[in-house]
Amino acid sequence: MEKRMTGAQMVLQALEDHGVEVVFGYPGGAVLPIYDALFEDQDRVKHILVRHEQGAGHAAEGYARSTGKPGVVVVTSGPGATNMVTPLTDALMDSIPMVCITGQVATHLIGSDAFQECDTVGITRPSTKHNWLVKSIEELPRILHEAFYVATHGRPGPVVVDIPKNIQFATGIYVGPKNIEHKTYHPRVKGDSERIRAAVALLAGAKRPVFYTGGGVINSGPEATRLLRELAKLTGFPVTSTLMGLGAFPASDPQWLGMLGMHGTFEANNAMHDCDVMVAVGARFDDRITGRLDAFSPGSKKIHIDIDPSSINKNVRVDIPIIGDVANVLADMLTVWRAEKPAIDKAALKAWWQQIDAWRGRKSLAYRRRADEIMPQYAVERLFAATRGHDTYITTEVGQHQMWAAQFFHFDEPNRWVTSGGLGTMGFGLPAAVGIQAAHPDSLVIDIAGDASVLMTMQELSTAVQHDLPVKIFILNNQYMGMVRQWQQLLHGNRLSHSYMESLPDFVKLAEAYGCVGFRAEKPDELDDAIAEMISVKRPVLFDCRVAMLANCFPMIPSGKAHNEMLLGEDIPDEEIATAIDDAGKLLV
């Protein structure tokens, strides 16, 4: 289609042409023409007004992570753009598709230090997959379509389109997204068939195999999840996953080992350490996963499936790299497997499962329940139990509560678990929940939060109230930055420097002040009823769950240690905690 319209109308037309139903944003001087176009035709796209641009960004991430579609943000120039830097970086680290439209001062003012001017493309260059400053109305339609293309193709990521105000007012010819082909960006999706053959041969001969799956499986889409499950069933091999990959393989499946990494299960980490063939699927050997690199899975041959060539051999050298889209490569692997019908070493595999069962017997997630205090793990377990039968999405903030949520809330489907993995952004979960609820109005959306994190973006409760988004903010309140405190105990001789949150607000009153519903539970026997009530309320809820103040998150691979050197359980003597990390490890985060 070709039609004459203003730049602002082109933005809305492009959103419509790319199937965007919801945008998150905050108006300001440099985006007024776009907001005027929104006003003109309010049914075209639903706009969620946030309270801070960072909230818009995380809400768009929640939308994208729960739907697989790009999240869209509209913010103004200057502070609007700089406030987006955190969510853009968050989306970049976790490979989340996001299109952020920023207003900019008029082209003739650029470079003059105009009011609310900043070098948006300069500032966001390292925080985006790509960004554009639109310099003429003629190039605006092409750039808008390229923005959606780049955000969603290859390894997904955030993009910024910076549109000066005079270009939003200018009139030009809009050309639709059909037949727009990108000049240079053509990521490879199909894996090399020779390597796929070699990978199948290696897998078939494995005696102690393990699938190590990551967020790439989720990003690749539902087909990748289906194929991963099919391949796991066909081979009978154990599966573990990163924090980002939870839900791709069902947690209720007997082949599931639980999450791996720094706070992963004993069985998952030991399986990684002792395996002879590792298949990394859409995972990037992050430092939270590998632990000490020179002791990482020393005896294994490694197959690595990833769409981004720069992920290959970045941290860990692999034997068979396969560049391509996870779904595409898994489909080819299944075809080869079915055609060749390789004989698996069943005896070896049986012994391997026996070994895994022995590790499982250590019950690395066990904790001691208390009658007078709510243990945070128990709170998550009860929350999980209470939400069975509901269509549930979980977000988190960052810290101990995030790890307990990952350990004790179990996911059988992808896109249900939404957490800030790579960047580790405190304050992510509340706005992300708002974004998910906007995409799934009738679902149960719960942010498992910490008392410190939740205060960073608390203002978005007001957004939830305004737009009737009944998110549930379930705060595991231990009055500490728990993970900071845990590391101070491990690294700094229990000198708890500024990790205690004095003067926390009364969360119940705060909920009421925002027009939400507040709940508080202080004893284990109050918990179930309060959770049930929270779920039944069809309004936003702030739930103050008072938990044991000094509980720590275990099991744990201390910094600088290997997968088979985990700290297990709560009953570790203080000296062992104090000496768990050596001097070299103390330098690491």
Binding site: R125, Y185, D287, T290, G291, L587, L588
Partner: protein
């Protein structure tokens, strides 16, 4: 044992040798493309020994960037992959892979002085095949083209003979053989 650097990552002790590679990039000549490339090097802690950039096809808005970088082999590989995945990058060619690339640098060298030193500077410039592109009774500006080692040697020699200032272009490079590089 060396103390580990304060880094969030586990740095393996690497004993591999550092290599110098000359990379040629074909990029879309869009605004900010050079900033993107340089930002990648500074942001990820890679080295730039030399950088040359110019538009090579006006009609297609294509530029060629030549970067000389050093690192152990794994880092060089990582640099290439990181460059390749940038949206405006058409292709990345490692000119060092098939033997030494043809590399030339141009330098403008200003030397001031009179008497013996002036005569000696002119004599040496002749030996290096540097040409005089500007002069007066008290100075010369020499133009010199050649490999980096030749330029450095010339500059070193001019030091005691009245060297005033130097401007170097950085390295321009092509691969050997009949084939051109992939665009």
């Amino acid at each position: 044992m060396n103390p580990q650097p304060a880094s969030p990552y586990f740095i393996e002790e690497r004993h591999d040798l550092e290599e110098t590679h000359t990379l040629a990039l074909v990029v879309d000549n869009e605004p900010g493309v050079l900033a993107r490339v340089i930002g990648l090097f500074s942001g990820r802690g890679y080295n730039i020994e030399s950088l040359t950039v110019s538009e090579t096809s006006h009609a297609r808005h294509i530029s060629r960037i030549t970067i000389v970088t050093t690192g152990v082999r794994a880092v060089i590989e990582q640099i290439k992959h990181q460059l390749e995945r940038m949206v405006p990058v058409h292709s990345v060619n490692d000119l060092t892979l098939d033997g030494r690339a043809l590399e030339r640098e141009l330098a403008l060298v200003k030397v001031a002085g009179t008497g013996e030193k002036r005569v000696e500077a002119l004599r040496l410039a002749d030996a290096f095949r540097a040409s005089v592109i500007d002069a007066n009774v008290d100075y010369f500006v020499f133009e010199l083209t050649g490999r980096t080692s030749k330029i450095e040697q010339f500059i070193a020699i001019m030091g005691p003979l009245g060297l005033v200032e130097v401007c170097r272009t950085g390295i321009a490079a092509l691969s050997r053989g009949a084939a051109g590089m992939i665009e």
